[in-house]
């Protein structure tokens, strides 16, 4: 056989003993069916495949078990039929000897193929589809590193491929897998080449084969005669490493692939012969890559020959099958003796790139003699096929001068081992290069990571900076707004002070207007949201509509209140207020302390009751005692308060707020009651009673309001809008109650009758209210306003407590707790107290009234500070409670906490309202009297005067001192003159 093509030369190369004849004696035989296979998820370059079967799944031979991820990756198929028994780390053929993720399949012995079918005519298929077909079959390079074949087949897309080279050199000693393949399956190879050529459309196809495989060459030629394929079989001289990709290209074409480039950059694509059969089988037969030809050889093997081995077969099976004498076996090598790896674990599986297994005896591969110093003989340089300077690289690697190694083209080294082979000093050169390469790669990687980290760090800094600026801007904006508000306030106050003639009370409301307006707006928005939610809920027929409705109503009230407050502030006359000056504060704090104690005791009691612990009686006694004390303290305070209070303006807004809160409560209670009735709870009746009581209280309060309004003789125009709202709300309630009743009647509920009664009562109340309204309207007369806000606050607090107690009671009833009855009693007591307080309030108001005319002139300062404190305490409490609620793990019962928060919020709002009112009043009062400003003005004037005086004094002083100096000077001069004269006289 003669070459029609001139063979070129590559630099260097060696001629190690071939040791190939041992394994070419017998034809390829099928390795026995393994009892289990281990499929590493990464058998190729690129990303590992992703398993698509689970442990326990039955898989068939040829079934895809792991899927390629990303472009450079390959599918993996089961090579036997059986069951997946494990997916996890297993030893794999890797120099590190480490484990990697594998799929383990236990054979069922049936070796059952999955249904498969080749393409009848692949030329009909579009190229990308055909390539995808090959990709699906998991074909990866079977010669070297296992590069996914489909990626190489795509090279035709963006490169001009002139030459396709089929690598059949098989230059490494011992290995004969490709040789035997060519001898026995030359037509499959040509079929595969045809497919690849169809895809790449090269101008020229060459098969490079070493001249030590004459039988394979003949077989190829024979097959070629039958084929219409136009290719050149190029016979190259035997020399290691002519199978290296770049070396073979140089041999066959004379073209040198530049450093850092791939062959496709010079128009060449290489494929291994093994890969061509895999392509053939995939396309023509439809078989994925599940087996390969592999040489088992080495002195300690009994049958040295080639097997067709399923991918995943443990090498122990192969060693056993070929009768390897373990005692004689010194080293076990996967791959060839030059570039392969030594393995120790026989459970390592065969993978797609495993072409040889050498069970070497000690005689065959003796231990490495110790390395000696490099003598600079230059032999390594002479054999290096990559034309490098191995000894130089060695020095750099050893001295860790990796940069220099890199500049000496370390990365062109193909790790062929030729230099190590010839080195007389036995220096493990290749290992130095591998180490140096790894270090450089690591450094690069770290640099990349560092750059990445720097970018992220800088991005973070930029983000923080941006946030800061934004925050600052927002702060500034707020400050500007606040300043504007402040200025408006001051302006208003000043205007008042400056023009006492126009001391119009309407101006008093100006400062707070903005706040009130925004409050009203917020309340409105909330209301709208709630309405929307409700509508939504109703649409979808969700649960919880009732609670939503209740919330809505509350919000409505709030919104209305806020709006009212706003309008009031806009229109209503200023209410001058007053507050006692004696040690009211002391009394108040006493009362507060007593209250806190009481609360604590109550809490304890509740806890004890809930827990069913003993000592409840003692606790109760304590609570009662405390209650008495608290009541005493409060009474004392109130007495002092009402006693010392001077004529002041009545603030009915607090009462109104009370009523609103109560109304909210009534609603809630009614809802709860309804829910109870619906669910047929035994507590329903008790609840009904509670609701009734609440309603009574409400009526009482409302009556009080009317009384207060009508009782105050010298009154500012009373705003009856509160009453109006109430009436409207009540009407709404009546409607709702009627609806509920109707529904109950329709559903034949036993609670219907009770409901009817409730509706009746509500209606009555409504009528009553309407009457009140008329009364109030007619009774309103100009009046001084009384400040009962302290009492009001008390009532609010108590009310909050009542709320809490009621909620606790309800919860208890719902959970069927035995403590419920006792609680009910407690609630009753509290309510009584509340009533008492309310009565007191009325009394106080009446008292005020009598005093009203007497000391109308005095306008003492309101205890603003205390009020403010109260507000902030409330806020803190509220916040704390909310936090508690937030921190409460989900699923736990947070109803009681919520109730508490509600109560706190109500209290906070009330306190805030009273504070706001007081503050507004104070400002108004102060403004009307012009105290502060006048004083200030006077002060300023005084100061200015003082400055002028001082200035004058200063200038005077200056003048004076000057004058005195001058006089002194003059006198001195005179004296001097005199003296001079005398002197002259005497000198004459």
């Amino acid at each position: 056989m003669k070459n029609t093509i001139r063979v070129h030369q590559f630099h260097g190369g060696i001629h190690p003993p071939e040791n190939k004849k041992q394994s070419t004696g017998a034809p390829i035989s099928l390795a026995p069916l393994p009892s289990r296979i281990i499929l590493p998820l990464q058998q190729h370059i690129g990303l590992p495949a992703d398993p698509i079967v689970k442990v326990g799944d039955r898989v068939l031979k040829g079934q895809r078990v792991a899927e390629a991820i990303g472009r450079i990756s390959a599918n993996i198929h089961a090579s036997i039929s059986g069951t997946v028994v494990d997916i996890g780390p297993h030893p794999v053929p890797h120099v590190s000897g480490m484990d990697a993720d594998c799929l383990v399949i236990e054979s069922d012995g049936q070796d059952e193929w999955i249904e498969h079918q080749g393409l009848p005519d692949y030329t009909q298929l579009a190229k990308p589809e055909l390539i995808e077909y090959i990709r699906q079959a998991g074909v990866a390079g079977m010669g070297g590193a296992g590069f996914p074949t489909d990626v190489k087949l795509h090279l035709g897309d963006d490169h001009i491929v002139n030459t396709l080279i089929i690598n059949a050199a098989e230059c490494e000693p011992y290995i004969t897998a490709d040789d035997m393949l060519m001898r026995e399956r030359a037509d499959e190879i040509l079929g595969g080449i045809e497919i690849i050529a169809h895809l790449l459309k090269p101008l020229h196809i060459m098969v490079g084969i070493e001249d030590n495989k004459p039988q394979a060459i003949r077989a190829l030629h024979d097959a070629l005669d039958k084929s219409h394929l136009n290719l050149d079989i190029v016979i190259t001289p035997t020399k290691y490493p002519s199978g290296g990709e770049k070396q073979l290209i140089k041999l066959l074409t004379g073209v040198e692939v530049p450093s850092g480039k791939i062959p496709a950059d010079v128009g060449i694509v290489c494929q291994n012969v093994g890969t061509t059969t895999a392509v053939y089988r995939a396309v023509i037969l439809g078989e994925p890559l599940i087996s390969r030809i592999m040489t088992v050889t080495g002195e300690s093997a009994n049958h040295k020959q080639n097997y067709e081995v399923r991918i995943g077969t443990p090498i122990a099976d192969l060693l056993n099958h070929s009768g390897v004498d373990r005692a004689q076996m010194q080293r076990l090598i996967i791959g060839g003796p030059m570039m392969g790896i030594t393995v120790t674990n026989e459970q390592i599986p065969v993978i797609k790139t495993t072409n040889c297994l050498i069970a070497a005896s000690i005689h065959e591969m003796p231990p490495q003699p110790p390395a000696q110093a490099c003598i600079r003989c230059g032999m390594c340089e002479q054999v290096c096929p990559a034309e490098l300077l191995p000894q130089q690289l060695y020095w750099f690697a050893k001295g860790k001068e990796f940069d220099k190694a890199r500049h000496h083209n370390l990365f062109d080294c193909i790790e062929c081992g030729a230099c190590s082979y010839v080195c007389p000093s036995n220096i493990p050169l290749v290992q130095y290069y591998r180490f140096a390469k790894a270090e450089i790669r690591k450094e690069d990687d770290e640099q990349r990571k560092a750059d990445h980290a720097r970018l992220r760090f800088e991005a973070r800094l930029a983000r923080l900076e941006r946030d800061k600026i934004e925050k600052e801007e927002r702060r500034k904006q707020r400050a500007i707004e606040a300043a504007a508000a402040q200025a408006a306030k001051k302006d208003a106050a000043f205007n008042k002070a400056a023009s006492p003639a126009t001391n119009n009370p309407t101006d008093a409301g100006v400062p707070d207007l903005k706040q009130l307006k925004s409050n009203a707006a917020i309340a409105r928005t909330k209301l709208r949201k709630a309405e929307k939610a409700l509508a939504n809920a109703q649409d979808k027929g969700l649960d919880g509509i009732e609670t939503l409705q209740a919330t809505l109503k509350q919000l409505q009230l709030k919104s209305e209140l806020a709006e009212k407050a706003y309008t009031e502030a806009q229109q209503a006359p200023a209410k001058s207020a007053a507050a006692p000056e004696t040690d009211l504060k002391q009394l108040k704090s006493n009362a507060a302390i007593a209250r806190t104690k009481l609360k604590k005791a109550e809490k304890q009691l509740a806890a004890a009751e809930a827990g069913g612990e003993g000592d409840i009686d003692a606790l109760k006694a304590q609570v009662v005692a405390l209650q008495a004390k608290s009541a005493d303290a409060e009474k004392a305070y109130q007495a002092a308060d009402s006693g010392t209070v001077s004529p002041v303006a009545i603030d009915t807004s607090a009462l109104e707020a009370e009523i609103a809160t109560l109304q909210g409560k009534v609603d809630k209670a009614e809802n709860a009651w309804k829910a109870a009735v619906e669910s047929g709870s035994p507590a329903a009746e008790k609840m009904a009673a509670g609701v009734e009581k609440l309603k009574e209280k409400l009526t009482g309060l409302q009556a009080e309001l009317t009384q207060a309004r009508s009782a105050v003789q010298p009154a500012a125009t009373v705003d009856t809008s509160a009453l109006d709202t109430e009436i409207a709300t009540l009407q709404g309630k009546v409607d709702k109650a009627e609806n509920a009743w109707k529904a109950a009647v329709e559903s034949g509920s036993p609670a219907a009758e009770k409901m009817a009664a409730g509706v009746e009562k509500l209606k009555e109340k409504l009528t009553g209210l309407q009457a009140e309204l008329t009364q109030a309207r007619s009774a309103v007369q100009p009046a001084a306003t009384v400040d009962t806000s302290a009492l009001d606050a008390e009532i609010t607090t108590l009310q909050g407590k009542v709320d809490k107690a009621e909620n606790a009671w309800k919860a208890a009833v719902e959970s069927g707790s035995p403590a419920a009855d006792k609680m009910a009693a407690g609630v009753e007591k509290l309510k009584e107290k509340l009533k008492g307080l309310q009565a007191e309030l009325t009394q106080a108001k009446g008292h005020l009234e009598t005093n009203a005319e007497g000391k109308a002139e005095e306008a003492p300062a309101i205890d603003l500070k205390a009020l403010k404190q109260q507000v902030s305490i409330m806020r803190t409490k509220l916040k704390k409670a909310e936090k508690q609620l937030a921190e409460l793990p989900e699923g736990e019962d947070n109803a009681s906490l919520m109730a508490e928060i509600e109560a706190l919020r109500a209290r906070h709002d009330a306190a805030k309202a009273s504070f706001d009112a007081a503050e507004a009043d104070k400002i108004a009062a102060a403004a009307s009297e012009g105290i502060d400003l006048k004083q200030l003005k006077i002060d300023a004037a005084l100061a200015r005067a003082a400055v002028t005086k001082a200035e004058r004094a200063l200038s005077k002083a200056e003048q004076e001192s000057k004058q005195s100096l001058e006089t002194e000077l003059l006198s001195i001069r005179a004296k001097a003159d005199k003296l001079n004269a005398t002197l002259e006289r005497f000198s004459d």
Partner: protein, 198 residues
């Protein structure tokens, strides 16, 4: 006399021309920032850990350019010190750290079921490598973590560990050869191999 004058004038003219040229180019081709700082910064490991006493690598780079010692970056190790010494042409000092060995790369792991979602670690992380939100479980994006340690201290429940990266096939690398190591290419001793062949 006139020759001297001409010479002086020519020199003056030349001086003027080049002065203008230089002045122009110094404006036209102005280099933003300090290039040396950039070079030094590029050598620092960008762990942003602050162990050098500066709030990040770049501030330390600036300090180095202003004359600070180059051996204060423990994450960089001795190799960084040497690289810096190389760049700045100064003496390579031994690393100023308790254990002057090459640092082991570590990354933070959050024991996720213990995390209370306080977001403190997010605020501490210089490279935004922690993912989470208030009251949600947090986790470290391992590929972004520089191993700076800064998130460990602020965690109120101590649920962050600094663990060395698990060795895997992906980060395994060839060790430096040790004397007496066995190589595969043993048939370099032709005598024996030939014997086998024969």
């Amino acid at each position: 006399m006139s020759a001297v004058l001409v010479a002086v004038l020519v020199l003056l003219g030349l001086g003027l021309v080049f002065g203008i040229l230089l002045g122009y180019s110094s404006i036209r081709f102005k280099v933003e920032g300090n290039p040396l700082v950039d070079q030094v910064d590029a050598l620092l490991p960008q762990t942003q850990c602050g162990q050098c006493g500066h709030p990040g690598c770049r501030p330390y780079a600036e300090a180095i350019v202003n004359g600070e010692a180059i051996n204060k970056c423990p994450p960089g190790g001795q190799s960084t010190v040497e690289a810096l010494a190389d760049l700045l042409d100064v003496e390579a000092l031994p690393l100023d750290a308790e254990d002057a060995e090459e640092p082991i790369k570590k990354v933070a792991y959050i024991r996720e079921d213990e995390c209370i979602g306080c977001t403190k670690c997010i605020q501490a992380c210089p490279v935004d490598a922690i993912l989470g939100a208030a009251k949600q479980m947090h986790t470290v994006i391992v590929s972004e973590c520089t191993g700076c340690d800064l998130c460990v201290e602020p965690c109120p429940v101590d649920c962050i560990d600094m663990l060395p990266l698990e060795p895997s096939l992906n980060n395994w690398q060839w060790p430096a050869p040790k004397p007496g190591i066995e190589l595969i290419a043993t048939d370099r001793q032709p005598g024996i191999a030939l014997e086998v062949k024969g």
